[in-house]
């Protein structure tokens, strides 16, 4: 490890990609184009899906490059990533379904 080659260039590339994604998110967040914001696709607006996908892309960049997950042994990587991803998807799916149920049950009782 003592004389490993430097990855400086690649690190800066990832940095610029992550920054660009953030800037795109912010611009979309400020302007919220009606065609993306006020329409619906698979339960929420296309804009929200775009935000979620861009977020996952950023998360991938941070984990794979900055945390150097790409350099770990395959099954170590899977032990970490698959465990976390599976449990998080599981939990989020159940809680969001439950939240939707609570809304459909309680909202009719609220008078505006």
């Amino acid at each position: 490890m003592a004389h490993a080659q430097s990855h400086t260039k690649r690190i800066w590339n990832v940095f610029w990609i992550l920054s660009a994604i953030t800037i795109v998110e912010v611009i979309l967040g400020i302007y919220k184009p009606d065609v993306l914001h006020l329409t619906s696709f698979l339960g929420t607006s296309p804009l929200n899906w775009l935000f979620i996908i861009l977020t996952l892309a950023k998360a991938y960049g941070i984990t794979w490059s900055f945390m150097h997950m790409e350099g770990e042994k395959t099954w170590f990587r899977r032990a970490v990533v698959w465990t976390a991803v599976f449990l998080i998807i599981y939990l989020v799916t159940l809680l969001l379904i439950e939240g939707d149920y609570l809304y459909s049950t309680l909202a009719p009782l609220v008078r505006w």
Binding site: M1, A2, H3, A4, S6, H7, T8, I11, W12, V14, F15, L18, S19, T22, I23, E25, V26, G29, I30, K32, H37, L38, T44, N48, F51, I52, L54, T55, K58, A59, I62, T63, S65, F66, M67, H68, E72, K73, W75, F76, A79, V80, T83, A84, L87, I88, L91, V92, L95, L96, E98, G99, D100, L102, Y103, L106, A107, R111, W112
Partner: protein, 336 residues
């Protein structure tokens, strides 16, 4: 006995059971990864709970653009700009961290020192920004009233029309339209001017009756409720008559946000905001402490003597994780 006790190999570093390294990762690095998995699950549980609550109140949840609009030293409303800056700072400090790790692989002590220092500075800027964000949120910007049935009413004024000819309403502060005298001579109770053992929370400088009469006396003011018009994704503006009816139910004047009331809407929104960004901020804070410890170890040459900079790599993992969490907090609190 000998068969189930790992024999320590004197020549290699000890990893639990001798020189064996499962997955080719050192003990410390692997345990950092497993800690990160568990911490990620904690954070995702918080965010999932936030999601559940948001779905539960999907028709009245505060709109982030109307809540986080301020930038330090600048007047006016600039939604997103400041959090974007915070995100950028955190990503930049992640980069300097990974550059420090990279320099560590080359045993370049000076470079590691500089990059660690930059990382620490980035972290401090981030925590400072978050403190400012909290302060702004707690102090509030407009003020609102809460009715007996627990709803928040905000005050707006027409600021123009959009391209379809519909009126655009802009929120205004209590100070912008409340006039006259509060009418009941109520003053803030302090220990100095009353019973010395009695204390009271801050009271508003306005009275409820004063707000109602100011509303009635100013036909430009219209009330905005929490209810979201799902077609336009905007809060509903009430007519003058309906507004007066709702305003008559006022129980409390709300200025700012805390764990009990929130001028921006649902109290639980403020609760989640404080809890999740607070928990994340605490992680950033502890990350800064770890970075400072490692920074001084680098300076005194601990890792130079040890022959490798793996400790920088391990705190680096933690630091990147903090950045990773922020990416999700940013999306689900400010964007979606």
């Amino acid at each position: 006995m000998e068969s189930n006790i790992a024999v320590t190999n004197e020549k290699k570093p000890t990893w639990g059971g001798g020189g064996v390294k499962p997955f080719g990762a050192s003990y410390g690095k692997m345990m950092m990864w497993f800690f990160i998995v568990s911490d990620a699950l904690t954070f995702s549980a918080f965010l999932a709970a936030y999601g559940l609550t948001r779905f539960k109140f999907i028709d009245s949840w505060p709109i982030a653009d109307e809540v986080f609009t301020h930038v330090p030293f600048v007047h006016g409303e600039f939604p997103m700009i400041y959090v974007a800056f915070m995100t950028f700072v955190l990503i930049a400090s992640s980069v300097t961290m990974v550059l420090a790790v990279d320099a560590g692989h080359q045993m370049n002590k000076n470079k590691v020192t500089v990059y660690m220092l930059l990382t620490i500075i980035g972290g401090i800027i981030f925590v400072g920004s978050q403190a400012w964000e909290w302060n702004t949120f707690i102090n509030g910007s407009y003020g609102a009233v809460k009715t007996t049935d627990g709803k928040i009413l905000q005050f707006t004024k027409q600021s123009g029309v959009d391209k379809d000819g519909n009126a655009i309403f802009k929120q205004i502060a209590l100070a912008d339209f409340v006039v006259g005298d509060r009418g009941n001579a109520r003053v803030q109770h302090t220990k100095g001017n009353g019973l010395w053992f009695e204390d009271e929370g801050t009271i508003s400088q306005y009275s409820i009756a004063q707000i109602i009469s100011s509303y009635e006396g100013n036909p430009d003011i219209q009330i905005r409720t929490e209810l979201i018009d799902l077609d336009k994704k905007q809060k509903t503006i009430l007519s003058r008559e309906k507004g007066a009816e709702e305003l008559a139910k006022t129980r409390l004047i709300v200025e700012g946000a805390n764990l009990e009331v929130n001028e921006y809407g649902n109290t639980i929104f403020a609760d989640f905001f404080f809890f999740i960004t607070g928990f994340h901020g605490f992680h950033v804070f502890s990350g800064i402490i770890f970075n400072i410890i490692v920074f001084f170890n680098v300076i005194v040459g601990t890792y130079e003597k040890r022959g490798h900079y793996e400790m920088v790599e391990k705190v680096g993992l933690y630091w990147h994780f903090v950045d990773l969490v922020w990416v999700f907090v940013f999306t689900f609190f400010y964007l979606v």
